[in-house]
């Protein structure tokens, strides 16, 4: 069975500059037929089979993050269809989605409620998250007082606390000091080895070879190559250099 099917999807971003100038600029654009949108993905199709461990590679601006957000249901494409079978957990930009004035316990509760968990599940998981993050008594402090490393520990622990059918991850590895980074890598590895589907966008060749069995190489919103790691990576690296 296919875990994710994207068919002919197009994603257009409004160009922020024209918005800043307000209605006058948009009237002007309409008159002069200037483009108000930047097309990140254009009639893009991709199928991810169940159990696939896909690595997304490509230079900055290739459309990796946009693609992951479409798969995660955050961006609705302007055309085309998206089918996702199974529950999704997404690790995007770990720093967003936390309230700086709240403490760790409150933030954890909000995040778990966002995942749709009930009271008992939240109680059980909160203990587990606190233990994994090793934050100790700091969990009762507002998270604006946290160091960058402490914050990453919390964010990573929360985001990976459930075992989803499909894991979407965007450049998230390398959290905290080397001891925590090891722990984090182990957890990610276990999540991926559970036979679940994963899509991972990264610039790290090492991660691709460790975690993925399939590589999709993107450039400017178009698939350049799609195949086994050993087929795609040598060509991608050669082109990227």
């Amino acid at each position: 069975m296919s875990a994710i099917v994207l068919k002919d999807i197009s994603v257009n971003f409004p160009i922020q500059g024209t918005q800043l100038h307000g209605s006058k600029a948009s009237w002007f654009n309409k008159l002069t037929q200037r483009k108000e949108y930047y097309s990140a993905l254009n009639e893009f199709s991709l199928t991810v089979r169940e159990g696939d461990r896909v690595g997304l590679v490509g230079l900055n601006g290739a459309g990796k993050s946009t693609l992951l957000r479409v798969m995660g249901g955050i961006y609705t494409p302007s055309s085309g269809s998206v089918t996702v079978n199974g529950n999704v957990s997404s690790l995007f930009d770990l720093s967003t989605g936390f309230e700086m004035e709240l403490n760790a316990i409150e933030n954890i509760k909000v995040r778990l409620l966002l995942l749709g968990l009930n009271k008992d599940e939240i109680r059980d998981l909160t203990g587990e998250i606190v233990a994994f993050s090793e934050l100790g008594d700091f969990i009762y402090q507002p998270i604006r007082t946290y160091s960058a490393g402490m914050f990453l520990r919390l964010a990573f622990s929360v985001s990976t606390c459930i075992n989803p059918d499909i894991l979407l991850a965007d450049e998230i590895i390398g959290a905290g000091d080397h001891i925590f980074a090891q722990k984090a890598q182990q957890r990610l590895k276990r999540m991926m080895e559970n036979g679940k589907t994963s899509v991972l966008a990264t610039h790290s060749t090492e991660l691709i070879y460790t975690y993925c069995d399939r590589v999709v190489w993107l450039n400017k919103g178009v698939v350049v190559m799609d195949g086994l790691v050993d087929e795609v990576m040598p060509l991608y690296l050669k082109a990227a250099l």
Binding site: G72, I74, T96, E99, L102, K109, L113
Partner: protein, 252 residues
């Protein structure tokens, strides 16, 4: 959306807490602000306009609490999605959850500021049970108005960020135009009654204040005008939602 109501309620509760975090008096500040203004300004203006303080102070307290709600639902409503952008960009839960969250926050704040009016009415011996019954339709319409306004403004505010700033100025002007601190009869007697009849906020105030102070339902026109206003806001909301619902994540 039902499964996320706990989330909306918890976020609203945290919003209220974080607004007064690191203050000693906390949420009590809402109460103090409304109470000090109503009582302070109430006595001074009552003296200036030769009105009875026992009549004028509760009148002012109710109007002031309602005005706070109007400003809140419009300005905070237009920031509902912007304030939730961290969550919207991370998860794909229904956007209505953030509307519900803002609605609950505003309702909590209103309950506190309105409790001032109840307290003042009780102190001057005018808290009558039957008046509360008369005001039930008004409160029902008021809640509907608040929810619909937040829902509509959330979409408009995320697309047109100027709206929130414009509203602040708009409400400053409208505070003077709306019979919040003076009785609407003054305007009607002076031949500028249209300023009252054309002002939907005047109707929304009337359907709460008249039952509570005068032990009767408000004029039918006030209920009608309030419902028409809600209908207009809903139409605005439906159109905005139609065009913007899929674009919210892109606009954040």
């Amino acid at each position: 959306m039902i499964q996320y109501r706990t989330l909306a309620a918890y976020l609203a509760w945290l919003d209220l807490q974080s607004r007064f975090r690191r203050t000693r008096l906390g949420v009590l500040w809402v109460f103090i602000q409304v109470a000090s203004f109503s009582i302070g300004a109430g006595f001074i203006w009552a003296a200036i306009f030769h009105l009875e303080p026992e009549e004028f102070v509760p009148f002012l307290a109710i109007g002031f609490a309602l005005w706070g709600l109007f400003v809140g639902v419009f300005t905070e409503g237009s920031g509902a999605f912007v304030a939730a952008q961290g969550y919207i960009k991370q998860t794909s839960i229904p956007l209505e959850v953030y509307v519900l969250r803002t609605f609950l926050t505003q309702m909590l704040l209103f309950s506190i500021s309105f409790s001032v009016s109840i307290l003042i009415l009780a102190l001057v011996g005018k808290l009558v049970f039957i008046n509360l019954v008369y005001s039930i339709p008004g409160f029902f319409i008021l809640s509907l108005f608040s929810f619909c306004t937040i829902y509509s403004m959330a979409y408009i505010g995320v697309r047109y960020r100027d709206v929130q700033h414009a509203l602040v100025g708009f409400f400053q002007l409208f505070f003077v135009l709306t019979p919040v601190i003076y009785p609407p009869e003054i305007l009607i007697e002076r031949g500028v009654g249209f300023a009252v009849y054309l002002n939907p906020f005047a109707s929304l105030i009337d359907i709460i204040r008249t039952p509570l102070l005068h032990s009767k339902f408000a004029d039918i026109q006030s209920y009608g005008a309030s419902m028409l206003f809600i209908l207009f806001i809903c139409l605005l909301g439906i159109v905005s939602r139609y065009f913007l619902h899929r674009k919210v994540a892109y606009l954040l």
